[in-house]
C-alpha cells in the first residue's frame, strides 16, 4: 500500500479524531490529542495495525512539550505491512501523563516502560509501570530528556563519569 492510499484510508477512518496527518518521505504521521489517543488506537487496530514496532518519545524543551510516537504496523495484513504509521501525542513537559495503549497493543508494554524511565512519561492503566533498563536512581533523572547533558570531550581528561 502506497503512503498516499494509506493517507486516504486514514482520513476516511479517523475522521475528525486526528489533529493532523502528514506524509513526508514515505513516513505517515498522525498527530492526535492526548485524550483521543485510545479511540484512535482502537480504530487503527480495527483497520489492521496489529502491533507496535516502537514507542518513541522526543523532548522539545523550547516548545515545552514531549512528543510520544507509537510506530505501528501490521503482521496479519500483508498490504499494511509495507508502511509504518506514526501515532503521535504531544504532552506537556512538566507533567506528561497519557493513557497507556497496552490494552490495545500488548506489544507496547515494555517500550512504554522504557519511555517512562527515560522521559518520565506516566502511562495511566499500564499493568506494570516500573523502570526496565536503568537502576532506580538513574531512572529518576529522566536521562533522555534534553536537560540531562552528557559531557562530550574530544581529548580525554580525567574520569568524566559522575554526573551531577
Amino acid at each position: 500500500m502506497k503512503p498516499e492510499e494509506l493517507l486516504e484510508l486514514l482520513k476516511h477512518a479517523l475522521g475528525g479524531l486526528a489533529k493532523e496527518v502528514t506524509v513526508r518521505k514515505g513516513y505517515v504521521e498522525v498527530l492526535v490529542d492526548a485524550d483521543s489517543v485510545v479511540p484512535v488506537a482502537n480504530k487503527l487496530k480495527e483497520l489492521g495495525f496489529d502491533h507496535v514496532k516502537s514507542v518513541t518519545a522526543t523532548d522539545y524543551p523550547k516548545e515545552s512539550k514531549i512528543r510520544v510516537t507509537y510506530h505501528v504496523s501490521s503482521y496479519l495484513r500483508e498490504d499494511l505491512a509495507k508502511p509504518i504509521l506514526g501515532l503521535s501525542v504531544d504532552l506537556p513537559r512538566d507533567n506528561p501523563v497519557m493513557e497507556s495503549l497496552t490494552g490495545v497493543w500488548r506489544s507496547s508494554e515494555f517500550q512504554e516502560r522504557e519511555v517512562y524511565e527515560f522521559f518520565g512519561v506516566t502511562f495511566r492503566g499500564h499493568p506494570d509501570l516500573r523502570p526496565l533498563l536503568l537502576i532506580p536512581e538513574l531512572a529518576e533523572r529522566r536521562v533522555l530528556r534534553k536537560d540531562f547533558v552528557v559531557k562530550e570531550e574530544s581529548i580525554y581528561e580525567g574520569v568524566p563519569h559522575r554526573y551531577q
Binding site: 513516513y27 516502537s54 503482521y75 496479519l76 509495507k82 515494555f110 526496565l132 536521562v143
Partner: protein
C-alpha cells in the same frame, strides 16, 4: 529469614507455595540478563525478564556525537551482526540527505549483511546448543562461524566491528580474490549444514526437547509483536527484505522460509533455511560484483569533492578516504524512519534532525528488545528445563536488547 541480613541482598516474602529463582545475571543459562522465575513445583507460573544489564545508553550518546560517529557506536549493540545493524541507520541518513548509494556499494553492503547474517545465526546455534547441553553444537557452530568472520575481515579489515557502510557508499571495495574465497566458504557451509542436521536438528534428544515447546501461535505472535525468524516460524510471512526492500534486495532471488508450527523446533528450522538462503544471496552478490568490476562505490558528488591524493588511493586500492568535513557534515532537518532485517529480526531507526551536526534524536528498536516480551508471556506454563530451550530458540541477545 526476616531477621537475617546479608550484604547486598534483600529478603522479601513471595507467595506461599511458590519458589522464586533468579536466573542471572551471573548464571550460565542467562547471558547478561536476569529472569525472575516463580515456580510451582517444576512448572513456571510467572517469569519476569529483568533486562538492562548491558544498557550502554546508545540513544543518548548518539545525540551528542556527530552524524557519522554513531555508526561504530551502534554496531556495538550487536557486535556479531555489525553490518546489518548499521545499514538501516545509514539508510535513514540517506533518506534525510536525499542521497543514494551506487549499485556496487549496495551490493557490497548486501554481501556483508548476508555474511553477518550467517555468522549471527551460527552464533545463535552455538548458544542454543550449549543451552541444551550439546557442547559439540557450540563448538562446531563457533568454529564454522570463524569462516564467515574471516570473510568479513578480508572484506572490511575488522573481525567484528566493520563500520563498513557510510552515507552514500561503503568504506572499501572488495579484494581481488574475494569471490573465490566466498564461494569456497559457501560450498563448505552447505556441507556442514547437512552435518548439523544430523547431529543437532534431527537428533532425537534435541527434537524431543524442542517439539511443542514455547509455541507461539500466529495471532499471539502478532499481538506480542515479536520479530524475525520467531515470527516467521509462527506462520507470518514478514521480512523487511520483502516488505520494504532496502538496498538491492528486490533484485536478488531468494525465498523467505515460513513455518507454521510456531514451536522451538520450527524456529530452529527457520534459521537453518535462512542460512541456506543467505548462502545463495552471497553467491549472487559475488557474481554480480565480479561482472561489474570497477564501478564506483561512492556517489559522484562525493568523488568530485575528493582531493587528488585521495582519488589516487581510491582508484588504486579501493579504499575511500573521506575529508574531515565529512565528519562534521550537517544534515537537513526532518524525520526519517528506516528499517532493516537483521539476523534476529527487524530493526527500526527513527532519526530526527534539526539541521545540526548531531542527530536531535535517534531511536533504535532492536529485534531482541521486542522479543524480550516472550519471556513474560510465553514462558509461564512450561517447565524450568524448558526455559533454556525457549531462550535459545528465540535467539535473544542481551546487549542488543538493552542498547
Amino acid at each position: 529469614m526476616e531477621g537475617q541480613k546479608l550484604q547486598g541482598m534483600v529478603v522479601r516474602r513471595v507467595e506461599k507455595e511458590l519458589y522464586e529463582v533468579f536466573i542471572g545475571p551471573q548464571h550460565p543459562g542467562s547471558g547478561h540478563m536476569r529472569i525472575i522465575v516463580r515456580l510451582d513445583g517444576d512448572v513456571i507460573v510467572e517469569a519476569d525478564p529483568d533486562i538492562g544489564y548491558v544498557h550502554r545508553t546508545m540513544e543518548k550518546l548518539s545525540e551528542v556525537r556527530e552524524w557519522l560517529k554513531p555508526i561504530p557506536l551502534l554496531e556495538r549493540m550487536t557486535i556479531i551482526d555489525a553490518c546489518n545493524i548499521t545499514v538501516p541507520y545509514v539508510n535513514a541518513l540517506e533518506k534525510l540527505m536525499d542521497k543514494s548509494p551506487p549499485p556496487r556499494a549496495s551490493y557490497l553492503r548486501v554481501l556483508l549483511c548476508e555474511i553477518n547474517r550467517v555468522a549471527s545465526h551460527l552464533y545463535g546455534f552455538g548458544i542454543f546448543g550449549v543451552f541444551l547441553g550439546h557442547s559439540t553444537m557450540y563448538m562446531w557452530a563457533f568454529g564454522d562461524r570463524e569462516v564467515f568472520v574471516e570473510l568479513a575481515e578480508i572484506l572490511t579489515g575488522a573481525r567484528l566491528t566493520h563500520s563498513y557502510p557510510i552515507p552514500g557508499g561503503v568504506r572499501r571495495d572488495m579484494p581481488q580474490d574475494f569471490p573465490e574465497m566466498a564461494r569456497r566458504a559457501v560450498r563448505y557451509m552447505r556441507g556442514r549444514l547437512e552435518e548439523y542436521r544430523r547431529i543437532f536438528v534431527d537428533n532425537p534428544v534435541i527434537v524431543k526437547r524442542l517439539e511443542g515447546v514455547g509455541v507461539i501461535s500466529r495471532n499471539k505472535a502478532a499481538e506480542l509483536g515479536i520479530v524475525g525468524p520467531n515470527v516467521r516460524a509462527s506462520g507470518i510471512r514478514y521480512d523487511v527484505r520483502l516488505a520494504e526492500p532496502y538496498e538491492v534486495y528486490d533484485e536478488l532471488d531468494f525465498e523467505i522460509p515460513v513455518f507454521e508450527e510456531g514451536d522451538a523446533l520450527a524456529r530452529t528450522w527457520v534459521r537453518v533455511e535462512e542460512i541456506k538462503q543467505s548462502l545463495s544471496i552471497i553467491e549472487q552478490a559475488v557474481d554480480w560484483l565480479e561482472r561489474h568490476k570497477g564501478e564506483p562505490i561512492i556517489p559522484k558528488e562525493d568523488y568530485d569533492k575528493l582531493p587528488k591524493l585521495h582519488r589516487e588511493v581510491y582508484e588504486k586500492t579501493g579504499r575511500v578516504k573521506l575529508l574531515p568535513a565529512h565528519a562534521t557534515m550537517k544534515i537537513p532537518a526532518g524525520k526519517a524512519i528506516a528499517r532493516g532485517e537483521m539476523g534476529r529480526g527487524e530493526i527500526i531507526y527513527y532519526v530526527e534532525s534539526d539541521g545540526g551536526t548531531t542527530p536531535y534524536r535517534v531511536r533504535v528498536v532492536t529485534p531482541s528488545a521486542r522479543n524480550a516480551i516472550v519471556f513474560k508471556y510465553i514462558v509461564p506454563g512450561h517447565r524450568l528445563m524448558d526455559l533454556p530451550a525457549i531462550y535459545g530458540s528465540i535467539d535473544y541477545f542481551p546487549p542488543e536488547a538493552d542498547r
